[in-house]
Symmetry: C2
Subunit: 358 residues, 2 copies
Amino acid sequence: MEERGQALVERLRQEYLDALLVTSLPNVRYLTGFSGTNAILLVTATQRWLFTDFRYADQAAAEAGANAHVVIEATSLWRGLWETLRTLRSIHAVGFESAHLVHRDFERLLKDGTAWNWRPFVDLVERLREKKDPGELDNIREAARVAQAALAHTLPMVRPGMTELQVAGILEHALRDHGSEEHPFTTIVASGERTALPHARAGSRAIAHGDLLLLDFGATVSGYCSDVTRTVVVGQADDRQREVHAAVHAANEAARARVRSGMTGKEADAIARGVLERYGLSEAFGHGLGHGIGLEVHEGPRLSRMSEQVLPEGAVVTIEPGAYLSGWGGIRIEDNVRLSDAGAELLTDLPRQLIELT
Amino acid sequence: MEERGQALVERLRQEYLDALLVTSLPNVRYLTGFSGTNAILLVTATQRWLFTDFRYADQAAAEAGANAHVVIEATSLWRGLWETLRTLRSIHAVGFESAHLVHRDFERLLKDGTAWNWRPFVDLVERLREKKDPGELDNIREAARVAQAALAHTLPMVRPGMTELQVAGILEHALRDHGSEEHPFTTIVASGERTALPHARAGSRAIAHGDLLLLDFGATVSGYCSDVTRTVVVGQADDRQREVHAAVHAANEAARARVRSGMTGKEADAIARGVLERYGLSEAFGHGLGHGIGLEVHEGPRLSRMSEQVLPEGAVVTIEPGAYLSGWGGIRIEDNVRLSDAGAELLTDLPRQLIELT
């Protein structure tokens, strides 16, 4: 926490900011440890104030008391912010999070904050979060282990005739039993043609013999997420299922072997996309290769056709090539890796060959 | 959907708006049926345009095709918005959702939208959503039924020594088996002293004999949520547990008997608060009596000390008095009701007397 604070203060200095107003809850958690759902944070070069409400009085003191002055507000967190800011000398330029401040709250700055010079920033704290420290990495590693254990428990229990929702129930139950404190996103269990929808939720469809079954899910450990996908066949695979799976598998393998820090998000994406192209499936790969994971399940850096950003050493990202064919189905194989100059260190180690549940 | 559209057009007329830009996803879903996670919606007196991305091409057409022109954008949804707006004549005043537009996107209006007169609104669509139509009510009723069935399945399986996470796993599994398509919020399973934290998540604490056990959870059916809480004793209750439970039970009962549409949120809240006061527990009731439920698990109207809003006929709200004593524990009993002039119609019908799991 100390190191994160220093890195942020250095960023404020570079941007000629006297203070930063943090309104993104994951950013608040990253900088203070506070995990509640209502808070704003003020950071200067030497101090921090965490404003939250009475529901979180005990929790804020326990989680963030060592890292910030905790201020409990009865009515509006903003009241405390203005009071605190008015007591501070030589605070003129204050940054705010342009992507995490709604217009209604921005108007407060214009109305009550005229004494300060407000400057919008995007991704200022998020960029610091991209490189994971050893404690963060341990949490993600454990979240990946929990996700794997849950899948290993679930697959042998899948039977034709079960609904997607029933499979989601088994999987989520196992995630809890293995210690996941929260489902980091809505569990995807899609079967048959529905696997062609990259963002299908589990539904009431009954799984048929011979169906593709795609499971995309994660675990949360001390706030840190894993995000894993496997696609299996319920029964024996047919030729087309084998072919498309082999292509996605090859794309996953190539990306894991060659993605490293120092390349751009676009270059990383191109590795998998090139493989799928050779299989005639580049059109079927409609999303990016991956994204950072951490306190949020989607964070920086992005591995996509659009991203010119250089991937930093220590980033933890998904590698998730897929191929989706409308009316037929889709296959995605998603792993979590830590990036360094030496390559991608695997955090997930589930089988990647085509599993047939027979 | 047709009726909702007409009600909105009437509101635009009242506010002298030629169009409304909708950026809240639940509001987009309410007005079009689209349930994806990336969309903006433009509404005029006669037409609607839903802008989303390629991932949702099929889904948007299926869900919203009858209610809006669906526009699939490859790069930015805003590109489509500007193109569409430029083709429209006599659109001058355009409303936007001040509580659902981040500063970064607000800057787009200032930069690319100079041809229009942008006017911020709060709760414009949300107010329409407060009064539920029969189809919405059916979904919430079913979501309440699913939540009840899941709790009835779970309680007999709780044993001292289980962790809160394990109980959450059983409960969520049952929610899925009974058809819940999504967990509408992070399941709260708190035991012992942790029940005093109104927003405790499930954790690794092992449940001990004699503990209070608080379960706060819900189901989702066709996008609509239920939100239910019961607090039980794992073993035989002691006198203090009985006392506090009786007080909260009485507050719940009084509120269910007397809350109705036409009173203010503050008056509704005062009914339960008055009962707890007589038991010397008004200080221990640190949150409001309830909130609306629907496409979101927290929506209007609010039943709280601060709310001067008159509760509308047809609103569906929670009734959830509680008492929290730091270092001892907390008890909450939460039901879901539909409001009318005649009173509060119960949608949840779980037992409210103190359950002892022996």
